[in-house]
Structures are given as structure tokens and as C-alpha cells.
Amino acid sequence: MLQVQNLSVSYGRASALHNVTMEVNEGEIVAVIGPNGAGKTTLLKAITGLLKAKEGTIRYKDNMITGTPAHKILGVGISHVPQGRQVFGDQSVEDNLILGAFSIKKEKQKIQELIEREYERFPRLKERRWQHAGTLSGGEQQMLAVSRALMSDPDFVILDEPSMGLSPIFVKQIFDTLLELKKSGKTVMVVEQLAMAALAISDRAYVLQVGEVKLHGQSQDLLRDDGLVKTYLGAASPN
């Protein structure tokens, strides 16, 4: 479904991503794990057009999407939940959801249905629907960020460290949501620092280190590989 080939990205003269090749198949959950500064966020930003690729190609469903600007990526069916949630703090929870459906703005009825669907997914958001998003707790903001990204009914969802700064209960809830998305036929790509938790819910995984893919394979196999943690993720992985 998504093919990234020989992708390189740099910030000025500093190379952030070097010759990365990876793919995500329809219906999978694919995890990208690796330590801080490995280039995980850079990879996602390059896919969704927030950063320019220096070299390489990105292909989605047989369309070349290299260089497509971020505001057109939703149109091809990819939705990106950015790192640190980035909800619109000055606007209400419901307005955040409405903005998530900006690309389908003409169908009022449809938008109302989608909002109700998201409130069912996260009842907490319904309780807080008129509150400014900036006043929510971190976990609630993450729920909102996920729901907002699902408002356009994307086929492919990309999440950047959804567990960041959350308590274990919220982390479990978000990861359960990813499994539900997979069950409903969506394809998921998730970047995580909680490597073990990400491996536990994903089908396949890529291990990124200093901008390069060091290892990839079935998540189950990677989980059983004792060397993985020590070599690439540092011994003290929290999970």
C-alpha cells in the first residue's frame, strides 16, 4: 500500500534520514521503533509532506506522492496524528473534530455521524465537547488527536508516538484503539519509543537508528530476539 524507496532527508547539511526503504501492506499495523533522534518523526513528516525529501520516492496505492504538500495528503487517504498531539488548544473539542473533517466540509449530515462515532469511541471526549482542547489532560488530548485524524475516514493512519507522556492506562487505551482500527480494515503505521509495547500490537516492525533501517521483520520474531533490545534500543527499555 505504501512504498518508501531510498528516502533521504536532511535539515540543512545535517542528514536526518539516509537511504530508507520500507513498505506497509494493506491491513497491517507496522511499527517503527528506535531511540531518540533515530529519524522516526522525520520519516513520517517526509511521507505526509511536512518535510521535503532530498532523494528517493514515496508511493501510495500506485500513485507517486513524493513532494505532495501536506494539505493534499488527506485527499489521497492518509491521515497523520502528529507528535505531541498538536490539538487546536484555543478551540473546543467539537470544533477540533469538525476541523478534522475539513476535507469533506460539504456533507453536514456525514460529519455529524462521524462526530458521534468518535464520541462512542472515546466517551470522555463527549463529556468535554464544549471545553477548549487546551484544557484537556494529556491523555484526553491524545484521544482527541486520534479522533480528529479519523474524522476524514482515512484508509491509512500514521501516528507519531501516541504514548508520549501518557499514563499506562491511557497508553493501553490508545494501543487498543489501533487494534480496533486494524480490525475495521484500516492500515496503521505507528512510530514508538515504547518498543516492546509497539512490537506486541504490530504485525511487522522496522528498527531505525541514526537515520537508517538497521533491522526489520515480523514483530513476533523481533520480540523473541534478545539481542535487539541491547543492541539498538538501549538496555533499559521500560516495557
Binding site: 504538500p69 494539505h71 478551540q91 470544533d95
Partner: protein
């Protein structure tokens, strides 16, 4: 000085203040979406009042009614100054933004100078008389006499600001503008095009300047040089009210208008100092402006 003078000064202040507020909303709307603004906003006001004046005169000279003339001149001003706002963003702001510089300040001042000098070539150096669709008709309330045009300006400005406020807070488009202001990257991931939003913000700012010019024209004897003081006062209003708060700007505008007219009761030369006196006092006590935004982001 008696009570009538004070009352008259207050009414006058509210009329002028509401015009300052409309112009200042233009600073607000481009500032929240792009963190830039047009330092030549005042000269766009001047352009609006002179184009409005010429169109109005031409149409009434052709024998058509004053209201047809007024509406036609308003529409023409909205189109011309709105497009000027769009062009300004394309030419003077967009190319300079990626530099992380404040170059756009000087480039908008440069555009303002060009506009001012072109206006001088077309309309000359003298001040002109701008007729109002109400003529010089006066509402006589016994102790108080108000020109109908002033009432019209007061009501018109209030309606414009109400429409703008509803547009920004209730329409999807306004929500998208605000989203871009809050977080450009996150907004673009929603399918919102930040560049398009920047263009729209500058078109709205230009339109507000133009409409402000048409309204203020019959009250000030317009000429090529009026932009400087109108722009400066509107800027003062934006700072006083808190540049990110449209309601604050409205109240700030009225406050400045009233206080400068009250100052003028003592001495006309004090009138121009009122704006800066007010800024000094308010910023000394409330550095965010009267209604400045509190930071409430969560990490």
C-alpha cells in the same frame, strides 16, 4: 466647557473609535494567521476613501441617486482594496517570510509609500471634500446635534464587527483560519492550505481598510496623507486592545476615540498625544494589552 461639550466629545469619540477599530481588525486577522501585518494598512484606508470619493462624485454627477452611488463606490472599493491586500501579501510578505526576518515590516512600509505617492499623482496634494450619502443632514436632539453620517458610521461599524466575529467563530472557514493561526503544520494535516488562508486573511484586511476609508472619508477631509495617522491610531488600538483579541480591539478603539476627543476639550494639540499616552499607561500596567491572551498550552 459644559456638559454638552463633554457629551458631544464622547459621541464623536465613539464614532471615530469605531472606525479605528474596523481598521485595526485588519491587523488582527493577518497577525493571527501569518504573524505579519501590513504597516501600510492606513494607506489602504486612504486609498479606500479616495476611490470611494471619486466614484461617488462621478456617479452622482451622472445624475444617479446618492444611494446607488454610495453602494457602487463601496463595492468598487471592496474589490480594489481587497485585491490590493492580496497583492501585498504575494509581493511584499510571502517572499520575505522564509528568511525568519522582519523584512516584511520594511517591505510593507515601502508598498505604503508607493501607494501614497501614486495617490498623490492621481488626487493631488490637497485635502478634498468627501460627500456623504446623507449630505450634511443633522439629527437635532435639542442639547445635542449629531450628523446622520456619524450615526451611520457607528451602526455600520458595529454591524461589520459583529459579522466578522460571527464569521471567525462560527463558520468552518473562520475555524480553519484560527487553526492555521494556532498550529500551521497541524492545520495542513487537516487538509487546510495555510498559504490560501494567508491570502484570504490579507484580502479581508484590505477589505476592512477600504470600508473604513469609505466610512471615515466624509468626516476627515481625505487626502493622500491621511493614511499615516489613521494607520498609526489603528495600530495603537490593536496594541491597546490586545492584538489577538477582536473584542479587545473593538473596546480599545472606542476607548482611544473617546479619550482623544476628551483630551481635545483641553487643547487640540493634546488630541494627537492621547493615543500614545493611553498606550503608555495601559502597557505599563497590562503588557498584554487590555484583553491580551493568556498562555494556556499544555505539555
Amino acid at each position: 466647557m459644559d456638559l454638552t461639550d463633554v457629551l458631544k466629545a464622547i459621541i464623536n469619540g465613539l464614532v471615530y473609535g469605531s472606525v479605528y477599530a474596523i481598521i485595526a481588525q485588519g491587523y488582527y486577522i493577518t497577525f493571527i494567521t501569518t504573524k505579519t501585518m501590513n504597516f501600510g494598512q492606513g494607506d489602504f484606508v486612504m486609498l479606500g476613501s479616495l476611490i470611494g470619493l471619486s466614484t461617488f462624485t462621478a456617479i452622482t454627477a451622472a445624475g444617479m441617486g446618492v444611494w446607488i452611488a454610495f453602494i457602487a463606490s463601496l463595492l468598487l472599493v471592496i474589490v480594489v482594496v481587497g485585491i490590493s491586500g492580496w497583492a501585498l501579501e504575494q509581493v511584499a510578505i510571502r517572499p520575505l517570510r522564509s528568511w525568519h526576518s522582519i523584512g516584511w515590516i520594511l517591505s510593507t512600509v515601502a508598498v505604503a509609500m508607493i501607494v501614497r505617492n501614486v495617490a498623490m499623482l492621481i488626487w493631488g496634494r490637497d485635502v478634498l471634500m468627501a460627500p456623504s450619502p446623507f449630505g450634511r443632514a443633522i439629527l437635532d436632539l435639542g442639547i445635542l446635534k449629531i450628523r446622520y453620517h456619524e450615526i451611520f458610521v457607528l451602526v455600520g461599524a458595529a454591524v461589520i464587527m459583529l459579522l466578522l466575529y460571527v464569521f471567525l467563530k462560527k463558520s468552518l472557514f473562520g475555524k480553519a483560519l484560527e487553526a492555521v493561526a494556532f498550529n500551521k503544520d497541524a492545520a495542513s494535516l487537516m487538509g487546510i492550505n495555510p498559504r490560501l488562508m494567508a491570502s484570504i486573511a490579507f484580502i479581508i484586511a484590505g477589505t476592512l481598510a477600504g470600508v473604513g476609508g469609505v466610512l471615515v472619508g466624509p468626516m476627515v477631509h481625505p487626502g493622500a496623507f491621511i493614511g499615516l495617522f489613521l494607520g498609526l491610531k489603528a495600530f495603537a488600538v490593536a496594541i491597546i486592545g490586545g492584538i489577538e483579541n477582536p473584542r479587545g480591539i473593538f473596546i480599545g478603539g472606542l476607548l482611544l476615540g473617546v479619550s482623544e476627543n476628551l483630551f481635545a476639550l483641553y487643547s487640540t494639540s493634546m488630541k494627537e498625544a492621547a493615543a500614545f499616552f493611553l498606550i503608555l499607561v495601559i502597557l505599563a500596567v497590562l503588557p498584554q494589552g487590555l484583553f491580551g491572551k493568556r498562555v494556556k498550552e499544555k505539555f
